[in-house]
Symmetry: C2
DNA sequence: ATCTATGCATCGTATACCTATGTATTATTG
DNA sequence: CAATAATACATAGGTATACGATGCATAGAT
């Protein structure tokens, strides 16, 4: 993790949902994808990701199914649900709001939108 | 708090240091300033801010001094130290790194800088 | 044959923000 | 003038969450 790990808190769910919103994927692949797409900034640990996936599934945000290409290893794929898709939209808005608020304070700018 | 409070984690220190980097300030004022500058997105609680201030002071990032304008109420002002100023620079870089990494994943873009 | 990478999973721990609470002063308002 | 709200500092305890460590198993590389 290149950045303060505390920064990551609160962003994990949106990152996972965003990945699954593009295509169904299995856990291990997500870890690699997030690392790749973030240029190594985020390196999710199994102990971080799997509990999130289980929790998102319990909340009906994602669904899982086992898949194995003829005789090969079984992988547990996840796909996003409608509920999860809606949740993602809210979270994206939330992220933009959060990001501008931090930027505003860091730049010393007040009362300006985006 | 308009956004998921978990998002805030890891950003509190940079917000406090950034405020104090402009001018010395006392705790209660910081809470109001952060709320105002973030357009109400961040509403720090006393239970959040004061422990952070004490911790930053213990780490030598900020210094405190009591000040009361002729007979008025005493306020505990904090000013940033050189160490704190350097820390802020690192944290700002970290924030930009984090922000672009999240944005990259949300937009699905890979291998692009800023 | 051994080591590395893949792939899923869980438990305990540390961190850190919030809630609740306490105390005291100053300003406002009926 | 009394009551209330705002100001101002502080801390204890609860809770959420990511991480470290660990375990198990298969597949590929050397």
């Amino acid at each position: 993790m290149k950045v303060n790990k505390e920064l990551l808190k609160g962003s994990t769910v949106i990152l996972v949902l965003s990945l699954l919103n593009r295509e169904p994927m299995y856990g291990y692949k997500m870890i690699k994808e997030i690392e790749k797409k973030s240029n190594g900034v985020f390196m999710f640990k199994e102990g971080t990701l799997y509990p999130i996936l289980h929790s998102l599934e319990a909340d009906g945000m994602i669904e899982s199914y086992w898949l194995g290409n003829e005789g090969s290893r079984q992988r547990k794929y996840y796909r996003i649900t409608n509920k999860g898709s809606n949740c993602l939209k809210e979270r994206e808005l939330e992220w933009v709001t959060f990001r501008s608020a931090v930027d505003k304070i860091l730049t010393g700018e007040a009362y300006a939108w985006l």
